[in-house]
């Protein structure tokens, strides 16, 4: 499965799962590249701090299926006194869904 790590944690042999572009839109690293320490150096130069890589950890069953997503949303909505009114508020809630589902999958792996 995929995980996002700090570029300091890059280890030889990890696989980059997303194309990485610099601020001018030039591709620095293509998807699927096998990473080395040198790649970390390039990313550091461009002030890119995190990278999505493959993970050896066992595939989690908590792929965000609709049911789990709804459970997480219900939990969030209980604490919300309001409903999102615009795209950025929706995106904020989306971040929280992402966060709690990540927490859920890491707690299941333990």
């Amino acid at each position: 499965m995929a995980k996002v790590i700090s570029i300091d944690e890059i280890q030889d042999g990890m696989i980059n799962l997303e194309p990485i572009v610099n601020r001018y839109g030039q591709t620095l690293l293509a998807k699927g590249v096998v990473l080395t320490e040198q790649h970390a150096m390039i990313l550091r130069t461009w002030n890119i701090r995190t990278i999505r890589v493959n993970s050896d950890e066992q595939e989690s069953d908590v792929e965000l299926n609709d049911e789990i997503r709804q459970l997480i949303l219900n939990k969030i909505n209980k604490r919300l006194e309001w409903s999102p009114r615009n795209p950025i508020e929706n995106n904020m809630i989306e971040m929280a869904v992402l966060h709690f589902s990540n927490e859920l999958s890491s707690s299941q792996q333990e």
Binding site: D8, E81, I88, N91, I93
Partner: protein
Amino acid sequence: MDLLKKIISKADEFPTLPTIYQTLSDVLANPRSTAADVAEVISEDQSAASKVLKAGNSPIYGFHGRISTVSQAIVFIGFEEVRNLIIAMGIIDIFRSVKENSLLNPVDIWKHSIAVGTITRIIGKHLGASNLENYFLAGILHDIGKLLFLKFIPDEYAKVVNYAIDNNVSAREAENEILGVNHIVAGEILAEKWKLPPTLKDAIRYHTIGKSDNANNSLVGSVHIANIAASLLSFGQAGDDIVQIPNQDIWKLLELPDDFWTTNYHNILVDYESAITIFLLK
């Protein structure tokens, strides 16, 4: 209002900022001071020096182990930023001894405040703010009034937290109801005592509504939004369990892109976790 009087009457017992802050402010106010002078002051305080190095090398600043001396930290991350890091550490240390009650642990308030600080800073960075160094500190300080309550009226404050959670209201509403005074007023008293600059006072005063009547709108607005994001993510705990509604005017003011949060989520997580390690572990 009796409680407010009680708190004001204890003003003399208020913790003062660490002396290193005053010394640093003096050195920084002198136009002839060099990075070496500032480094000397910081290096005299072992704990401050090591935290400055840790912070400088953390993902928050992105120098990844290239900073090995205090002088380098000053050159790389700047005088003001280093000074604010030291203030943040000093303030966190002052309240470290506050006793916890069964519902609210000061460490959780700090986790919340550190989250607000890191998110505020990430917003400020996106905005290209020129006074970026104040963004983190403003977030750290916004709830300082709550720590004052915990320090001086811990039993009454336990009732506040109880009330907020039972009735599903904000800490501020519960404080008004139970204490007749809220953490914003208490925070302002401390800001006054510490002679904090107007930007930081505004962050304390206006973080719940997100507005201010002067030029610090972006910073205050960023704290307002970061405060909501930090509660939404349940980073730490701030005495209630509700997520406030964002002030719509602030979205217009900040003009963040629609995908700001999902784009920045991993930076928020990485910065938050490293800031927790730097500031909360002795």
